[in-house]
């Protein structure tokens, strides 16, 4: 799973003047331009640190919130095989969240601060998780499309300039491929099933197609943070480039399933060697970013409940540790 990086503040707000030493900045920019990795104890500009904390924590939150729409379906998976697979996938998403929280913590933020920001509704996570999962076919569509888009986004991040983030991405990408394949397999079974099952698969594609294209973030000409992130090699491909790549790879996969991509403007463009596709509804995207997604409130409620209901486990672990320490001291 993946989140694009959203600025929480107004992009037109005045930028504070950097107090960083120009000589240190020049040395840093030189290292980044030479494709060196920046490691936690290396000097880095404050803005680089802030951008990474924001991006990595949003990415971590997305992994954790991403467990929720799929968790809804654990008890209703159609077979034991599907249930075991879905459980493994959800565990992976939890693990991905943990790798990423750890990477963000190397920049000087604490786990507690990040979790509190998420639960207080102050942190962003991927817009995709604020759409509901209505049928089992949605679990197939999420694996195929959402994880497919995530992989497309994450592969270049394996070479992002901040070492701990890049290493976390290597682990994530290694594990993510199974997620997409199990989703496509669900779609294959449904597309080749009864007329009703095939209709469910088509309906899931209809609802997840556009939100998946939105996962690559706003169009390049309206992506305020991109230029800086490119220069710092935090970002390596533009939102529109990745979106195009995703469409080009995914449309033939839909054709193989015998399903129709819900875009009347979609057609092959021989000259550019890729598909032309219709305009994304960016108003919808920004509304979901603002927290107006269909199930945004439900997701946060589920997240806070899980945290609160798990409090006794954390307290018991603390008490056990304290007791053992007291015994050792005695």
């Amino acid at each position: 799973m993946y989140t694009t990086e959203f600025a929480k503040s107004d992009p037109k707000a005045p930028v504070p003047i950097s107090k960083d030493d120009p000589a240190l900045i020049a040395a840093f920019e030189g290292r980044v331009a030479a494709d060196e990795f920046i490691e936690p104890k290396d000097w880095m500009p404050e803005a680089y640190r802030r951008t990474l904390v924001r991006q990595i924590s949003q990415h971590a939150h997305s992994e954790i919130v991403g467990m929720l729409p799929e968790g809804n379906w654990l008890t209703r998976a159609p077979s034991l095989r599907r249930k075991a697979i879905l459980l493994a996938k959800i565990q992976d998403e939890g693990g991905h969240g943990l790798y990423l929280y750890c990477a963000a913590e190397t920049l000087g933020t604490s786990r507690e601060e990040m979790i509190e920001a998420l639960h207080a509704g102050k942190a962003k996570y991927s817009t995709i998780f604020n759409y509901p999962t209505l049928t089992w076919a949605d679990i197939g569509a999420i694996g195929w499309l959402v994880d497919g888009a995530a992989i497309m986004n994450q592969v270049p991040l394996q070479r992002t300039s901040y070492g701990p983030y890049a290493r976390a991405m290597v682990r994530v990408c290694k594990e993510e491929s199974f997620h997409q394949r199990q989703g496509y397999e669900i779609m294959m079974v449904m597309a080749n099933g009864t007329a009703e099952q095939k209709a469910m698969a088509q309906d899931a594609l209809n609802r997840w197609w556009w939100p998946s294209l939105m996962m690559f973030g706003p169009p390049d000409d309206n992506s305020p943070n991109s230029a800086q992130s490119f220069r710092w090699r935090i970002k390596r491909d533009s939102n529109d480039e990745l979106r195009q790549k995703f469409v080009d790879i995914t449309v033939p996969q839909a054709e193989y399933l015998g399903l129709t991509v819900p875009d009347p403007d979609l057609r092959w463009n021989e000259a550019k060697g890729g598909y032309d596709f219709g305009a994304v509804d960016w108003e919808e995207f920004y509304a979901v970013v603002r927290g107006e997604g269909p199930v945004a409130k439900e997701r946060m409620r589920a997240r806070r409940e899980a945290w609160d209901n798990g409090a006794w486990v954390r307290e018991a672990a603390d008490a056990h540790e304290a007791k053992r320490r007291a015994r050792m001291a005695a």
């Binding site: 490691e39 104890k41 290396d42 000097w43 493994a88 565990q91 992976d92 693990g95 943990l98 790798y99 750890c102 913590e105 604490s110 786990r111 507690e112 601060e113 290493r167 976390a168 682990r171 594990e175 672990a317 603390d318 056990h320 540790e321 053992r324």
Partner: protein, 94 residues
């Protein structure tokens, strides 16, 4: 001050005969739970046969800003490498 559990660095031996290698970190209240969390977080696909955990606070690291001076002594000692010496082909493999 953060109420987070302490941070532990995780090292995993991927198979017998190889050394433990750093893979990441976990939060845990004690060493035993750190090992369990490390197992669940870093070995979901048979990545290891053995796990070490060590409190992150107990690690002493060299200063990257001093890396030049720190490692300079080795830079000027090319004669520590076998390729520094010319041995005639006639001598054969050495």
């Amino acid at each position: 001050m953060s109420r987070d559990w302490p941070l532990w660095e995780v090292f995993i031996r991927s198979k017998g005969g190889l050394s433990h290698k750093h893979v990441g970190s976990v939060h845990a209240p004690d060493a035993e739970l750190a090992v369990r969390h490390a197992r669940d977080t870093y070995t979901r696909r048979l990545e290891g046969v053995s796990i070490w955990v060590v409190r992150s606070a107990d690690i002493t690291a060299s200063d990257p800003a001093q890396a030049g001076e720190m490692f300079e002594p080795a830079e000027s000692k090319v004669y520590r490498h076998p390729t520094f010496y010319d041995i005639p082909d006639a001598v054969g493999h050495m």
